[in-house]
Structure formats: C-alpha cells, structure tokens
Symmetry: C2
Subunit: 587 residues, 2 copies
C-alpha cells in the first residue's frame, strides 16, 4: 500500500489523521520558514507543508524537488490558515513528517497546466505528459462516461453487445480498406472493417434481435484535419422494426446521454426530410441552434426578382437568401468581408447581394439601381424581416448556390454568436435519396450503403430507371450541424439486394463473390431489420464542447496517419516480409 | 411496429388480449382439425393455434409453412388446455386471426435445435443459423453479461476505460505481429497490438491511476485447437500499488463475476508460489478442484526407494507419485491404459509403477519383487494413503517427470469425476521466475514480458549473473487448471528497464528504437505501477462450463485462420497492392 488516501479526498473532518499520499509535484512555494508543495494526482491536489523550524532537513530536502517529481509523503492532516474554497481539499494541508522520492523527473517539454505552452506536435510526441493536464484527462474521463451511459441505456433495452471480427474480408465498394497479409494463406489478405455492417445484419438473421457494439473501425482515406484512420462507432441493429421504431429508440439514447452526461433535458428531436434540409438550409446536416432559414426569391415556384433588368438574377436558376436578425448595422467593411467569404474558391459564389431593413421599415440594398422600394419591400416581406435585419442573397445554379448560402449562414451564425458550443440542438434528417450519381465514375453509388432499403413506395421506380427519384428509408442524427449518426432500414430480401448490386454496377459474379454470404443468409429466413451507427469520437467532442475529436482520443494519429509518440508506422524486418510472402514493389 | 410483444413474455394474465408477434417457425404439428406452430424469437417460444373449423383458409395456409419461415401473426391470447410448465409462455397460446409471411426460408443445412446434426464445418459456414440455436446464443448473451459485470465492478473502483490504438508499431519481441502496410508512408507498416501493454503503462505515466479496457488483441501464431488469431482481453493497470493491492483488487473482480454471473459465492482465492505449484502439481496452472498432490519418494531431500536394486528408481533424479483415492479396484486393463497414457510421445514417460492399498492396509505393487512390505508401507505412509487407494508413480529427470505426472494427475482427476465443469476452484500462482532460458536461441527470454519487475530483493542477482534465480513480481490467476489471467508489477525506472533489455539481448540502439518512447517516458516522473490482463474468451468459456472458446465468439476463425462464412482472407485487387506499394514475393 503506497497510500492511504488520494490527493482529492481529504477534508476538514479528516484533521488530525495520519495519512500517506502519492502524486506529482505540481508546484512548490518557499515562504521564508515554510515550504508548500501542491501534490497532484488524477483525483485532485493536496497542499503539503514543510516547516524549517520543525524539521530543517526535511524542509531543505523538499526545496530541492523539481516539478513532476513523483512523491510519497506521510504526515498529519491540519486545518489550513488560508483556505482555498475552490479546491475540494482546500480547507486542509498535510504537515509532512516523511518524504520519499518515488521517481525523479526531467523538466517537461511543456507546462503541465490547463493552458499549456506546448504546441500540437510537442503535445502529441509527449502525449503521456499532455494527458496529465486536466482538460485532456477530463476529456478521456468524459469519453468513459459517454460509453458507460450508452451501455446502460442499451443494456436496459435488451440490446446484446456482440464483438464482431476485426480480421475480415476486403470489399472494394466504399472507402479504401486497410489490409493485413495472411502468413498462413499466402497471397491472401484480411481487411480491417470500415464498419461491422454485414456482421450486424447477419446477427439479425441469427435472431439476436437487438445488437450493439462500441467498436473500432478503420478507413484508409486521405486524412483531412480531424479525421482518424481508426475511429470508434456505437453500432446498433434491431429486428422486426420500422424506421419509426429506430428513431424513437435512439432518440431515447440521445436524451439519456444528455440527461446523464450533461444534465441537459433534451426536448423531442424534430425531424426534417432531406429535401427540406436542402431547401431551407442547403445542407443535409443543418445547424439548428439558430433559425435563419433560406428564403427563395426566385425558383421554379416563385419569382420576386423578374423584370428589373438585373441580369445576374434574371439568368440565375435560383435566387435565395437569409435574414440575419439585427445585422443591418453591419459596416461596409463587414459586408465586404462577407462578400470575400462567399467568393472564396471553396465556396464559389460570384457575388453577394445585401439589403438592410432600416429602423423605419424602409429597405436599402446593394441593387437599388435595379429594384425599387416596392420590390425590396416584397423581398423583406418574403423574409419576414424586421427593422434592423440584414438580408444576404446569393444567385446562380440551384445546388451550388444552396451550398454556398449554407456556408454563409453558418458564418453569420458564428458572427452573431448563435453557435455556442454549450447549447445543443438535435435533428433527425430523413428520406435521403437512395442513390447519388458520380460524374467521374459515371455510375450511381449508394448514398448510405448498398444494404439500405428503398422506400417501399419507391421500389417500382428502380425498374423504371428513375434512379434519382428513389428515396431510402435512411436517416441521420444531426447535432449542432454535425452528422453524429446515420442509419437505415435494410434490405432483407435476396432479390432486391441483387437488384441493388446490379444498379451499383456489380456483375452477379462480383456481387456473389463479395457479398454472397449475406445474400445467401437472406434465403434462410432473414427478418426485417434496421439500424444505426454513431460516430463515438465526434459525439464525445460535442459533449465536451470542442470541435476537434483529437483530444478525445487517448493516442491519436496526425494528418499523415502517424503516431509520432511511438513512431508508427515503421519499417519491418525483411524476415517478416518473407514470412508474409510480400515484397516492396519496385519503383 | 411489427409486433406488440416478444415470443417470451405472454402469460396467463394476458389472456384475452389481442397481440401481434414475430418470429421464426420452430416447428409445426397438424392434429386433425387443428394446427399448432411453435413461434421462436430470441426471448422464447409461443404456441400458435389454427383451427380448421374456424378459418379453413388460414389453417391451410399455416400448414404450408416451412421451418425457419419468418412470420408475423395477430391473434388472441388464450389459456392452453395442455399446459407446458417448462416454458415461460407454456400456459397460453395464440388463436391466430391473421398471418403474414415476412420471409421464406430454404431448409437449413442442419437442425436448429439445442443438439444439432450439423458438424463443426457446416456450423461455421452457416454461423448465422448456428447462432439461432439456444446454446450458442446463450453463450453470446453470457459473454455480454461477463463484460457488463466486469465494467460494473471496475467502474465502481474508479477505473477509467480508455481505448488504446489498434494501428501501432511492430516489435519483434514476443509472438509474431500481424502487420498493415501504410499507403501514406510507403515501405512502412503498422502492427496490430498483441496487447496494449506499453500504452497502458504510458497511461500510468500520464497519471490516469486506474485503467482498464476490454480489448481485441492479435497474434499471428500457428493456430492450435482453440486458439484464435484475434482474441479479447480484460486489460488493467493501476498506479501506486504493490502486488498485494493488485491481487486483492482482482480477487474482488473474480468474486463479483462469480456472484453476479454464476450466483456462486467464491471463497478467498488461495495463493501458491510458482515453486510450490511445480513441486506439488508439476504445472504452473494446477487444477485445484481436486487435491491429489505430488508426493516425492526420491528427490534431493528424501529417498524411500534406495537400496533395493531397482535400477529405474536408482537411476532416477526424481521418483514422484500421486495417490488416487479409492482407485485400488482399478483392473489390469485400466492400469494398462494408464501406462499407455503416460508413454504417449507427448507425455513421454518410460513406464508407470503402481501400488494398491488393500482393504486390510497391506500394499501390493507392480514392483513387489524389489520392494518388500515394509518399504511399500513406508510409501503408503508418505502418501498418507488409505485402504482402497491407488498409488501411481513415475521416475526420471525431475522436470520431465513432473510434467508427465501432471498429465497423469489430470487424467486421474477426470476418470474419478473430480473435474466437474460446474465446480470452480481459483488460485493465484505467484513468484514466477523473471527469465527463462531458451536452448534453441541460446538466450534468456522474459517469462512474462520485458516490462516485468524483478523482486526488489532479487535485483542484485541480475548483476551477479544468477539469472535463473531471479524471481519476478508476477502472478497468474488460475481457474480449474486454466490460466485465466496474468500480470506483474512493472519496471518504472529507465535504468532497470535498459538492464532488462540488455539481458534479453537487445543492443542499446535496438532497445531505444523499439521501446525508446517508453523508456523516455520513465524519465518524466513515472509512478510505480502494476497490472493484469485476463483472457476474456477463456473466462467466458469457463463460466459457460465448456472447454472450447470458439462457441463464445460470435464469428470465430478456424485452425487455418480462416473465416469460412465470409471466406476471408482472400486475394485483393492488384490496384490495392500498387497503392500499398507491395507486391507478391516471387517464389
């Protein structure tokens, strides 16, 4: 027994007790005859006191200790003169009688404080020191809480957690697989799962009824900021359910997590069709912490822009805008910034039209020379704009304009302080298209994945070749504009599944070779089933109120897919290559 | 909503209710005017009744249904005439009013019954049908229970579950790694973890204090029966603890699991040193469900065999035996079987000496012509043998003889019915040797792993070169003769760790290259720490009372490392190989 108590538990009621504590030296202060040390462990900080007059040798020893030394001290708990009521242990200190240095420490490469002077690279290289800092450690503890409460909810709903295999089979559909050469089967490879999709469906065929798993998944994609080659999913599947049952079940999970992890009473999660999300927000994952819905001035249904000789609008397929409440006071400089923002190549608008609603209700716009007061008043009415509101309007091809306006809407939300990370707004987006056409490859891809069921009422459209029109029983959970989860009702009929693969460009032989096991399983009594998967890293970062997932992962990889702490990946022995029957490819 | 109830919940008190159930057709029985169907889901079986007189069409339809069809039925709950009190739902049946076939089923390749006619290969190929059988499904649910209770215990003890990375770095020490070529870092490879050992130690350096994880691990070993290339560990680590603290903490876990999963009140787990385990059981994982300890007739301490001209014993380093209670009645045939058993090449004894203690206390042995009655009486006394006991004695080189006698002891335990899977006996084995010499490679290997701390009192022996004598602070948990868990107190001092690597034949450069991150971490304030890992698959199979782990894994691989259901591993596209910068090695 190295210690009798942790550094986070001693209180005034413990005064007089003889205790032994262990921890790290957070900082020391020498005040004439006294030396104080803050001793830190995961649970808190306790003040140690050394008195020159009482024990000069011990006190001198204490003065020589460095930051992050690992100490064991024995002493008496005493009421403090200067209490620190911000600390759980702030009413007491330890009058130290014995001190053991359990381990020394070199000076850390960055400060072990809540706000550190260490840059990202240094923090990643010395991740074991970074995790000593409260914010990072608390993120990991939060992650544990989210996992624990997820299991608590799903266990209570009779879900069974089942581990599916990590060494599986490579399938070219979808993202790139990580592969593992098989030594015992020369020339053959396992793949790491991008998700346990087919296995969870097989568990439904197996009659398991309700399955979940908090599980590592792998995608060998070109990494963008905040994407990891290995990530964690809450993966779920249910039998004998319709979309409605799934949404209700997992709305329950979301409410449970908010209640237990964040002490937030989340109201009923609203639902929005994909079509409406695109129409009103230009995005299938709208941030609904704020309204600022799109209003169309010109579309195939309406036109409030025509007949005024303004070519930009006249030639546009869509004229659409947002109303920024109370932003009429924006300066010329601010408006120029917004124009520059929408003209950035990654957003791609050609310009920005704005209109201010003045105190007196009159409207002034950047296109006053085309549109008279009456026309602008009609715009303001369409936007339901109030005095002091600012209308921001884009025009062009419909899809591209909506996407650009989505970016502008988010930018305005941020500028107006409407996207506070401490506020949460959840949304179900439903009725996704089943397929999307890829111009480059000149073929359709499954928008969700090839196992997603078309809506029964749209199945006939498949045979008619109206592939764009087919909607899927697919749904996403969006929180604060982030896609946190997604799922679908699955195909459970071999014929329909085969038809899907054909549409996706598989020959029957390819479909059989890659997914034969699943299609065969469908012939032995597959139940109707549906499921969902949540991005666990992302969910944790949302609960933690941060936008980066990296600090919610104990040992993340950098954008080059490297773990800079352990220096992986790395070269392996030639002997290993020979055993695995592989060679470096000649350049 | 496909159903109002499951097939496992309707009771007499539900009589009169209109319900809708879904499930699989387990079996049907036509009895003249009535047809009965057992409808099965994960939760149970409910009897459906169809009456020819009431609805001839529906009843005829029901008669056409095949086994494993997926059905949805609506009807009225009614008290049964012939109750089946073995079933939770056995007091009621459903008078069916509407029937929908949700999916048809081909005839399964084996019967979906508790005892099936399917062989192992067929069951693995159609694992999704195999899991429909109660025993396999119950194993998976048991596994979920063990995981859940493990987390409940460790959470309550303030352990934090942390996910460590799966894509790590290959290290030649230990078993063979599975590796993953990195596309973004040509010529480099990740490795899949054989265990999260170094990461959990870094989490201790990071101050996390108490860590656990239920985690997949990977070893590319030649597969023996009942070994899987991917397996699951309960992996744990604690800071500021000594061996005693670890044993107490995890004895608590074991007791909690037995109490909650098996409703067994496990007494205090006894402890035994490695030296005693080898001396008294010839094994470091003795099955302590039964006693039958080794008794030495001749060793470096005693000799009850000398001076009788029996060369076999006279030339032996060790003469050692067991006393099989009540087995004196064994026939000549049975004794021949035992002799054949110990002479099998994998056991390797040259012969077996036996001695029977008769009803009257006299002893008759297979070596009567060498040993007189007084000598044999001394043997019986040494064994504390009673009338009707059978002494079984082996002789030869000490180590080999002990190992052979261990096998014979287990065989006798089985024959005498002392190894009932429903009984449990736990044991801590402690004080393992730190190192073991490998004749083939002519060097020492770490018996546990290179991070295990020698006992402080034995550290001096390292410098003196007395490597065989150094004991480790290492411990195994053994249940029913199976090593279920193992762990150790770790080295937390860079110098000692470097010394260990040197003893294991690493150059300082190799040690730095492979484990530099850990040794560097030790310089920044590493706390004393210790841990343990449990084989989760094995633990589940023990709780399930079975010797094979395969049926406690949802989708196991066969002895060639293949998943025969999905047919993995498999060839991958040449395009993938090119991207990964690897090629098949020329023969």
């Amino acid at each position: 027994m190295y210690r009798t108590h942790t550094c986070g538990e001693l209180k005034l009621s413990d005064a007089g007790k003889k205790v032994t504590l262990c921890g790290w030296l957070q900082k020391g202060r020498d005040l004439g005859g006294m030396t104080f040390i803050d001793l830190r462990d995961r649970y808190g900080i306790t003040q140690l006191a050394f008195n020159m007059e009482v024990d000069a040798q011990l006190c001198s020893e204490a003065r020589k200790l460095g930051r992050e030394f690992v100490l064991q001290v024995t002493g008496i708990v005493k009421e403090r003169e200067n209490k620190n009521l911000n600390l759980t242990t702030g009413e007491i200190e330890i009058i130290v009688e014995a001190l053991t240095v359990l381990n020394e420490a070199k000076t850390p490469p960055f400060t072990i404080e809540d706000t550190t002077d260490g840059g990202d690279d240094l923090r990643m290289k010395y991740r074991y020191l970074d995790i000593r800092r409260n914010p990072v450690r608390n993120n990991l503890i939060l992650r544990h809480q989210v996992a624990k409460q997820t299991r608590a909810y799903l266990d209570a709903q009779q879900f069974t957690e089942v581990e599916t295999p990590v060494l599986i089979k490579s399938t070219p559909e979808g993202a790139r697989d990580f592969v593992v050469p098989s030594r015992m089967n020369p020339g053959q490879f396992y793949a790491l799962p991008q998700s346990p999709q087919t296995f969870k469906q097989l568990l439904m065929v197996a009659g398991l009824d309700r399955y979940y798993q908090i599980v590592k998944c792998f995608r060998d994609e070109d990494l963008r900021a905040d994407r990891q080659p290995e990530f964690t999913q809450i993966d779920c599947e249910m039998s004998f359910v319709e979309q409605e049952d799934v949404l209700n079940m997992f709305e329950g999970l979301v409410k449970h997590l908010f209640a237990t992890v964040k002490q937030v009473d989340m109201p009923i999660v609203p639902r929005m069709s994909y079509a409406d999300a695109m129409k009103f927000y230009g995005s299938d994952k709208p941030d609904t912490r704020f309204e600022m819905k799109f209003v169309e001035l010109k579309s195939d249904q309406t036109d409030l822009t025509f007949g005024k000789e303004f070519k930009v609008f006249d030639n546009a397929e869509l004229v659409v805008g947002i109303c920024a409440k109370g932003a009429a006071s924006y300066t010329r400089k601010q408006l120029d910034e917004l124009t520059d923002f929408v003209k950035k190549p990654q957003i791609g608008a050609t310009g920005l039209v704005y209109a201010r609603v003045n105190e007196d209700g009159s409207v002034r716009s950047s296109v006053d020379k085309f549109y008279d007061e009456a026309a602008l008043a009609n715009w303001a009415k369409a936007f339901e704009a109030q005095p002091n509101d600012l209308l921001l309007i884009l025009a062009g091809k419909a899809d591209k304009t909506r996407k650009a306006l989505n970016e502008l809407r988010l930018e305005m939300g941020s500028r107006l302080g409407l996207r506070n990370a401490a506020n949460y707004s959840c949304l179900w987006v439903t009725d996704f298209p089943l397929l999307e056409f890829n111009e480059e490859e000149n073929r359709y891809f499954a928008m969700h994945h090839p196992f997603t069921s078309p809506k029964p009422e749209d199945i006939a459209l498949l045979a008619e070749g109206k592939l764009d029109k087919v909607r899927a029983n697919a749904y996403d959970l969006v929180i604060n504009g982030v896609e946190v989860g997604g799922g679908s009702v699955r195909i459970f009929n071999k014929k329909l599944q085969a038809q899907m693969f054909e549409i996706l460009g598989f020959t029957p032989e390819q479909a059989q070779e890659q997914f034969g096991f699943l299609m065969n399983a469908f012939e032995y009594g597959a139940p109707p089933h549906a499921g969902i998967a949540f991005g666990f890293d992302r969910l944790c970062s949302l609960f933690g109120g941060e936008s980066s997932i990296r600090d919610f992962i104990a040992f993340p990889k950098n954008n080059a897919g490297r773990d800079v702490m352990i220096d992986a990946p790395s070269a392996i022995d030639e002997k290993q290559m020979v055993e695995l029957n592989i060679a470096q490819r000649a350049k």
